[in-house]
């Protein structure tokens, strides 16, 4: 039962990253590469009809986490208080940027919201990578100092950083060199992903440039990914144990590799959706491999006194979880239906759909 919800949550998270990821990435491309009004409009049109439905996956995932693993939800959300609230502010600013830009046709007005949208997208990609880093690295559950817990064993509080920026420091911070590394991987991979989406959904003049960009960024992504693999062992004890015990799980690291390998061929692709496909494979593989590596833990404990938070010690009551399954499965089938319908209605190139010209 817990396993069902664990898989459901990871799936929802992955879908969220793939979907909202492409509009974050599009925002980053927008910030650095879209100079002409025509290109800007093309990018806005390519994400316009989708972005808020994409964000719903975050909201729904948060709701499901609250309901299935309330103890984890309570501990993690209060422990990561500041970064989470800042993510909320960024999400709000970014949404204002998208929605308001087109409402007034004035150059200064456009500049403000262009930058807001772009910078917020960039920071969100960075923050989500950092968040993943924090989950893998773990936190000082119970706030243990000198062998004594300051709080109940599952609560903690993390400052934004500590002076040493080290994942091995006595007092951990949200940002250290390891989490920052995952943050950078997040930014690079989502930029590629967003570029892939733009190529897929528009006939923009940018597309040829974006293909070259994807190729170059892919080299950086490969280097960073290999580097993270190298330091993995110093962060996660027994880093490959789960994979060795369940060899089927090797499919996920394999997907990551296929994704990167495929992206190197971007220049030669015949179909415009191919780039997006391979970046999607990379994201699925990277995300799931990272999370599965620490299974059954959700949030490892960095001290010896308090146990890690796992899917077994944080779940809600058995009855609630089992009745939840019926409406959840029903709901997800409907959601898939809406998604198919929505993406069919807005299939093909969206350059002229008019989302960016609603004034």
């Amino acid at each position: 039962m817990e396993l069902f919800w664990y898989i459901a949550l990871i799936t929802m998270l992955t879908i969220y990253v793939i979907l909202d990821g492409y509009d974050f990435g599009a925002g980053i491309i927008y910030l650095f590469f879209a100079k002409k009004e025509k290109d800007k409009k093309a990018i806005m049109n390519a994400i316009g009809p989708f972005w808020d439905a994409n964000e719903v996956w975050l909201v729904a995932g948060g709701g499901v986490l609250f309901f299935t693993f309330p103890k984890l939800y309570a501990a993690a959300f209060s422990g990561f208080y500041l970064p989470l609230i800042m993510i909320l502010w960024l999400i709000i600013l970014r949404a204002i940027g998208i929605e308001l830009r087109a409402q007034i046709d004035n150059k200064l007005w456009h500049i403000i919201w262009d930058k807001t949208f772009g910078v917020a997208s960039l920071l969100l990609a960075l923050f989500f990578g950092i968040a993943l880093g924090n989950i893998v690295r773990g936190v000082n559950l119970g706030g243990v100092v000198d062998g004594v817990s300051a709080y109940e064993p599952h609560y903690f509080f993390l400052p934004l950083w500590n002076p040493s920026f080290s994942p091995h420091a006595e007092t951990l911070g949200v940002i250290d060199w390891f989490t920052l590394l995952l943050g950078l991987i997040g930014v690079i991979s989502l930029t590629i992903h967003g570029a892939g989406w733009i190529i897929f959904k528009t006939n923009s003049d940018l597309n040829a440039r974006l293909k070259r960009l994807i190729f170059r960024l892919n080299i950086v992504l490969l280097v960073l990914s290999l580097f993270s693999l190298l330091v993995w062992g110093s962060i996660v004890p027994n880093p490959f144990g789960n994979f060795i015990n369940h060899p089927l799980l090797f499919i996920f690291p394999l997907l990551t590799a296929v994704g990167i390998a495929g992206l190197f061929k971007i220049q030669g692709f015949k179909k415009d959706w191919n780039g997006f496909l391979f970046s999607t494979l990379f994201l699925i593989g990277g995300l799931v491999s990272t999370v599965v590596a620490i299974f059954p833990k959700f949030l490892p404990s960095t001290n010896k006194i308090n146990p890690s938070l796992t899917l077994h010690n944080t779940s809600a009551g058995h009855y609630g979880l089992s009745v939840g399954m019926s409406w959840f499965i029903f709901g997800i089938i409907l959601v898939i239906g809406y998604l198919i319908f929505q993406y069919r209605v807005f299939s093909g190139k969206l350059d002229d759909i008019g989302y960016s010209e609603k004034h």
Partner: protein, 442 residues
Amino acid sequence: MEDMLFYDRLQFAFTISFHYLFPVLTMGLSLIIVYFKWKYLRTKEEKYNKIAKFWMRIFGVNFAIGVVTGIPMEFQFGTNWAKFSEMTGGVIGQTLAMEGVLSFFLESSFIGIFLFGEKLVGQKVHFLSAILVFLGTWLSGLFIMATNAWMQHPVGFTTLENGNFVLSGFSELFTNPWLVPAYLHNQTAAVVTASFVVTAVGAFYLLNKQHQEYGKIFVKTGVIFGLISSVIVAFPTGDWNAKNVVKYQPITFAAMEGVFETQSTDGEIVLIGQPNMKTMSLDNKLAVPGVLSFLTYRNFDTEIKGLNEYPKKDWPTNVPGLYYAYHIMVGLGTLFIGLFFIAIILLWRKKLYQTKWVLWSLLILSPFSYVTNITGWYVAELGRQPWLVYGLLPTSAGGSPTVSSGNTLFTLLGFVGLYFLLGLLFLILVGKIIFKGPETQK
């Protein structure tokens, strides 16, 4: 710890009050948009389609701000009320997750299709997407009300040894006697607000002598929806809610009505007066004997229990605040019924569009329909104090054990700044759409 609780409550109160200004319009307006779109399909008159799209555009801006200010609400359960979330997540996490999965996807997928897909999907599917958006917003309301109903009157749960609550009866969450009256009251109140907004824009057009053809349709539609909904808000749904409060939260009832001393016969209804917490009485009281007994028990003589019957520690923590919230809600609500009634009479006698004082009143009173919704929620939330979950979990025990008050004040200030900006932008944008009028809708 005192400070901490204060900032947590202030942040939640501020963010939820601001957030609710948006869903209250989307829930009501989605119904009126469905009506206009239906009217277009039936009459084939292009103006109704333009009207539907005009309101959908305002709806779109409103919806976007509702979504982005709604995400912080869900997060704040965990960030600021961790202990509450941990203890109740097994029960109300269920309804909140249902909202996410069953209604948010519905709304967000079909609003995109409604706003940008008319030419792609054709008229019938376009109408259907309006209905689905309406359905999504009302379902969303249902799950939120089911969550709140559980906090007001917990049912269908068992308490574990560690004090946490887990669900034991799923269907009880939806058959909760608190839920149906509260839901209907809330939804019809949202329709009142939307009616006021539609009417006010129409009245503005008529008084300003622009877009007059549309102005007349807006005023006519608005006052009809307005009269029906504002009556239902008071009776039967408001009355029904009050009876629930008497039954399940009698202390709250005494506080909101301003009854300090038990009245053994002829329970009087207070119209005006200021609660004085030193003398435990109302200053400058204006009251009508017997009416409260009648409204509550359908009998002019029945005893009404006062706050003096209960230990002070069980009283709502802010008696004057609760009393004012309730009286503002009821006072304005009564005024709305009166005004819409006059408007309907004039409409029937074909004089409404020329009667300036009524158009002005409709225009000026429209923001107050938001006030009634917000104060209504204050009645529910202040009335529930000192509990988070009535009778089970005190508010003081629900906060996050590891978050300091300095951090909460920091984020509160951030929200205040950000929301000020949001509010300003919203007014500018919607103002712009209104000035431009429905005629130019493509």
